[in-house]
């Protein structure tokens, strides 16, 4: 027999759960309904093929490519920094380092992860950019390289801690079998443990890419606001997120075509991260089945 109050409580709890579904519905609805009015004026073909993004100029162009290239360039630099360094640190901590060392280093990595992103922006602008300017000629005050590198440092703890968890979860018996065959620690780490933890490591990489694509404040502070189609990391670029910030801070009238560009940009951003999320969710499910 169930008391009526029990049912009311369960209903209340389920309602709270349902709110999370409403968030997703809300995001999809807002992004799509607002960008539809944008795509009524600008064709999707132009949006993806025009190489200029100048919604605020008199000569208006609505090609997302410059914003996409800015986003991909900074993401690429960040990921190229964070993946090799993060994975190396993860392997070192899991396979080489002393237990007490591992226990001391992990909380410090957590500190790196807790620092607000606007603070990383400050770091990029006031420390990393002047440092780069001291030996790279032609690098601007705002540039993709500095923002990308700092974003790499920012996502480093994410790569390290998730990869390390995946490596650490590989059963001891695998390592012992490898040592028994005469392999050393290096061979065991790279030929046995890393392959066994590969899906977990891949998840950490994908999540890191997603974080870098969606990161806003570092690029808004340090990468500049020039939507130029370039792959030169010394130049200032504008990412999708930095563009949304630029419009939000400006005084563009609500409901105008210029204003709706932030939703079209938002949809593009959302689709990228949505696909990445799904891949990582699928992989996560798979490796949980493997060892549990």
């Amino acid at each position: 027999m169930k008391r009526p109050s029990e049912k009311i409580i369960e209903f209340g709890l389920a309602t709270s759960g349902a709110i999370t579904l409403l968030i997703t519905v809300g995001i999809l609805w807002v992004l799509f309904s607002e960008s539809i009015s944008f795509f009524k004026v600008v064709s999707i073909w132009d949006f993806f093929t025009d190489t200029q993004w100048t919604p605020l100029f008199t000569q208006k162009h609505y090609g997302i490519l410059p914003l996409l290239s800015g986003t991909l360039l900074t993401t690429l630099i960040a990921v190229a920094t964070a993946m090799p360094i993060g994975l190396t640190i993860a392997i070192y901590l899991s396979e080489y380092a002393h237990k007490t060392f591992r226990k001391r280093v992990k909380p410090i990595m957590e500190i790196l992860a807790a620092i607000p992103t606007v603070v990383y922006g400050f770091f990029a602008l006031t420390v990393v950019t002047p440092f780069l300017q001291s030996f790279i000629p032609g690098i601007g005050t705002f540039n993709a390289l500095s923002a990308g590198l700092v974003m790499g440092i920012m996502i480093l703890p994410l790569v390290t801690s998730l990869s390390e968890d995946a490596l650490y979860a590989v059963p001891k018996s695998l390592r012992e079998a490898s040592f028994g065959m005469g392999a050393n620690r290096f061979q065991t780490s790279f030929k046995v443990v890393v392959p066994a933890a590969s899906s977990g490591i891949t998840v950490s990489f994908i999540l890191a890419i997603g974080r870098a694509i969606g990161e806003t404040m570092v690029v808004a502070v340090a990468a500049g606001q020039q939507p130029i189609l370039t792959l030169d990391p010394r130049q200032g670029v504008e990412t999708i997120t930095a563009y949304i910030v630029q419009i939000s801070l400006g005084d563009v009238t609500h409901g105008s075509l210029e204003y709706n560009t932030i939703f079209a940009a938002g949809v593009t951003l959302f689709l990228f991260t949505f696909i990445l999320n799904h891949i990582s969710y699928g992989l996560k499910k798979r490796y949980h089945q493997q060892y549990e």
Binding site: K2, E6, E10, L13, A14, S16, G17, A18, I19, T20, L21, I23, T24, G26, I27, L31, E34, I85, I89, I91, Y92, L93, A97, V105, P107, I111, L112, A114, I115, P116, T117, V119, G121, F122, F123, T126, T160, N184, R185, Q187, L207, G210, G214, E215, T216, M217, T241, I244, V245, S248, I262, G266, L269, F270, T273, F274, N277, S280, Y281, K284
Partner: protein, 285 residues
Amino acid sequence: MSSRAWNRIQDKAFHVVGLVFTFSALLILAVFLLDIIGEGWNRIDWNFLTSLPSRRAERAGILTAWTGTAWILGLTSLIAIPIGVAAGIYLEEYGKKNRFASAIEVNIANLAGVPSIIYGLLGLEIFGRILGLGGSLLTGALTLSLLILPVIIVATREALKAVPKTLREASYGLGATKWQTIWHQVLPASGGGILTGIILALSRAIGETAPLIVIGALAYVPYVPSSPMDEFTVMPMQIFNWISRPQHDFIVNGAAAIIILLIITFVMNGVAVYFRNRWQSKIHW
């Protein structure tokens, strides 16, 4: 060179590289903190904490910024904690096998990866325009609540999962209902873990800037907010505004404000870790 010798060198070399990389990461963190302290420490004084923003860098203060952050922290707690914990309890204790619960689960995993600026677009339209709350504290708190809900839900579930079945069964055996068991046994036993998750989520909320820019929070607010419907600024917004200016005096102000924001963030994280350790050491299942 024999292949055995080569293998030994490889092993040693990786050991060194691993150590160097790990210490480089720690070194960067140190450089980073020292630079900010060096730049901003001398700017912090009582006036800096109690002054309104100003066009003159040396007279500007962070009063409106930290009071805004305090408001946001309070309102976001009131909204996000009950909903997040309730949803976590539902998923872990009630909806184990039904399709509604598994849909919520996939959904939460997805939401955790949505960039914070997208939440800003959501808040701008739903709370700011459709509900007519504009760029108020309430819009900001609601938006940030949605942003941190997945974090609180996941933390709650992890903490509940750690409570052994035997405790629940003993409670049922004494005739307690499901909710009585959860309320009197499971929640107290998992409280430390849930609290840790909540504090970490809130510390993330007060460091967020992007969604608040999008909903229309202002960088310049010349008064201390007195109700949830007031316009506001927060610490990260103020920092962003100052460090975006070319004048060096404002950069110094930004560094000083960063020190205050980092102190708040680190204290919250420290408290969270303290609760986690106390909770883990107290309980021996």
